[in-house]
């Protein structure tokens, strides 16, 4: 990208186009262009090759957040709650994470706390069977907090290493649904005070700047400890991750790159930056 050697108005406009089209969003794009323009005027950047290098470094800074690799050994059961808006890939990602830890010899329990959406429980049950892990569920329409409570209780009693709690998709703007998530979190804390140890927000790579609003509201409601971005196997670049990481400083743990249980990779900031262009 950016074929020319000299930096001029045309190059800066092309840069704007590249960043916007990668879904970095207006805010992050403006910040990056400001930084670049400043360095150009201070002669810290003198040609397009140097510009590209600095650009990648600046974006890398924005998304590589020092995260203590969440250590699932620090408590048993280690409780992970998955949240996010409708259809982003929460249930499928739980299946992938279950496989990931099952392969490491962990005793995994899935908790089907989406009791609302049609066949949500059946979907997670099918995945549990495919991966070869146990699942706790109640009937459709049951109180999600009650399911989460009983599930974590079971995990504690039966010595599971890690528990994944699947929740129903919901728009972050629906206050009563966000209250429901808060209740699930409170209820889990009653059995295991440090739980949930991780609350993962799942973001869809095809989402534009609404990802910022999603992260803000889910974080304000629950305290998000990690982000997983799915569907990076499509043509969307997922650039909004740059803006979200920069603004909220929440670590990005994994990316989803397909629909099968193996299609999960630990987040690699360098590879992500390279793929943006």
């Amino acid at each position: 990208f950016l074929g020319k050697k000299q930096i001029d108005e045309e190059v800066l406009e092309e840069l704007e186009e590249i960043l916007i089209m990668a879904d970095l969003g207006v805010k992050a794009t403006q910040e990056l262009i400001q930084t670049i323009t400043k360095k150009v005027s201070h002669k810290e950047i003198n040609n397009v090759e140097e510009l590209k290098k600095v650009l990648k470094e600046e974006i890398f800074k924005m998304i590589s957040i020092n995260r203590p690799d969440f250590d699932i050994e620090r408590q048993r059961p280690f409780v992970v709650m998955m949240v996010g808006v409708n259809g982003v890939g929460k249930t499928t990602t739980i299946a992938k994470l279950a496989k990931y830890y099952y392969d490491q010899g962990k005793k995994v329990l899935l908790v089907a706390a989406d009791t609302f959406r049609a066949a949500a429980i059946e979907q997670l049950q099918a995945w549990a069977q495919r991966v070869g892990v146990d699942i706790y569920s109640q009937q459709s329409g049951a109180d999600p907090a009650a399911v989460a409570f009983d599930g974590v209780q079971l995990a504690k009693n039966k010595g599971y290493d890690i528990v994944f709690i699947d929740t129903a998709g919901r728009l972050h703007t629906k206050i009563n649904l966000m209250e429901e998530l808060k209740k699930i979190k409170r209820v889990i804390q009653k059995i295991v005070p440090a739980a949930p140890h991780e609350i993962f927000l799942v973001l869809d790579a095809t989402t534009g700047q609404n990802a910022t609003s999603q992260t803000k509201l889910f974080n304000e409601a629950l305290g998000i400890t990690g982000i997983i971005m799915t569907k990076l196997d499509g043509t969307a670049k997922g650039g909004i991750l740059v803006s979200v990481a920069h603004e909220f400083r929440i670590p990005i743990h994994f990316i989803g790159i397909g629909e099968k249980m193996d299609d999960l990779k630990p987040f690699d900031p360098e590879a992500f930056v390279e793929a943006l262009f």
């Binding site: 259809g87 049609a118 059946e122 979907q123 972050h172 989402t207 534009g208 499509g234």
Partner: protein
């Protein structure tokens, strides 16, 4: 918001009789920002601004409007013009049963929207719809549509995950014809527009049952990628319309303009919730205001 920003752009231009090119350029900078913040595709924004500029330069400032209001009016009218057009009702004419096919990316809301359309056709259009689960890949996808069908008392074809989706659609249309159902709604699996094998499956379904409606179901919060998705689905299938889901959230919905601009196909409905009555007819003027912020 945009009105305030434009008002301040024009604050210094009192008493002018018409909008000059320089005034317009300043104003369009603000409009560009608003559209990009709304997730409208970058190239679509560029084309759109050129059209607005053509319409705006040299225009007489209407006595009843300030220059800022004038520009907003031109922008809004152009947006409504681009996204609206002919009345976007469903085309159910021709052979019986009418066949509607829903397609789109993973998780966009196809299965739920199939059920919403069935409910709409049954309770608001006096039809006898038949739901067809043609997603044999996603775990419990067939069960999902079956459960939704039960909720709205609409019959659902008996698909099994071992079946071939093309055969499912073909057999289901035949069964509908035999049983006297007059509208068949095909729920297809979510897929990437770059997955050739899966796009080929959709082409085969189309060739086998020749649907009256091929509706692209897209998520209102989609970003810049909306044009790639829409372009490819349209190229492969010549879609007949678009349904935007999850519109009751706070996504600005710029994808609506991007998709319309690149396919020239009508946006027929919007999904405004998870319940099966949460389907509205698309109103271009409402979404125009929302996109402009």
């Amino acid at each position: 918001n945009l009105s305030d920003k434009l008002a301040s752009v024009f604050k210094k231009l009192k008493g002018k009789g018409h909008l000059t090119e320089d005034d317009i350029n300043k104003a369009l900078k603000e409009v560009k920002l608003a559209l990009l913040e709304a997730d409208v595709n970058y190239k679509v924004v560029k084309d759109f601004l050129n059209r607005v500029k053509e319409k705006a330069v040299g225009q007489e400032v209407l006595k009843s409007l300030t220059p800022a209001q004038q520009v907003i009016k031109i922008v809004r009218d152009e947006l409504v013009n681009l996204m609206g057009g002919t009345t976007p009702e469903l085309n159910l004419k021709g052979k019986v049963p009418a066949v509607l096919m829903l397609v789109g990316l993973q998780g966009s809301g196809k299965t739920t929207t199939c059920a919403k359309l069935a409910k709409f056709l049954k309770s608001k259009r006096g039809r006898h719809p038949f739901l067809v689960p043609a997603d044999v890949y996603r775990p419990a996808a067939i069960e999902q549509l079956q459960k939704l069908g039960e909720q709205i008392k609409v019959p659902v074809y008996h698909s099994s995950p071992e079946d071939n989706p093309v055969e499912i659609c073909f057999q289901a249309v035949n069964e509908a014809r035999q049983k006297g159902y007059d509208a068949v709604i095909l729920d297809t699996a979510g897929r990437l527009h770059i997955d050739e094998k899966m796009m080929e499956e959709l082409k085969q379904i189309k060739a086998r049952v020749y649907p009256q409606e091929i509706l692209l179901v897209a998520d209102a919060m989609t970003g810049q990628d909306a044009v790639n998705v829409a372009k490819n689905f349209n190229k492969a299938l010549d879609i007949t319309g678009i349904i935007l889901t999850k519109m009751e959230g706070d996504a600005r919905g710029g994808a609506a303009l991007s998709i319309k601009a690149v396919t020239q196909k009508p946006i027929k409905f919007i999904g405004v919730g998870e319940k099966l009555d949460a389907l509205d007819v698309f109103h271009p003027d409402r979404i125009a205001s929302r996109i402009l912020g």
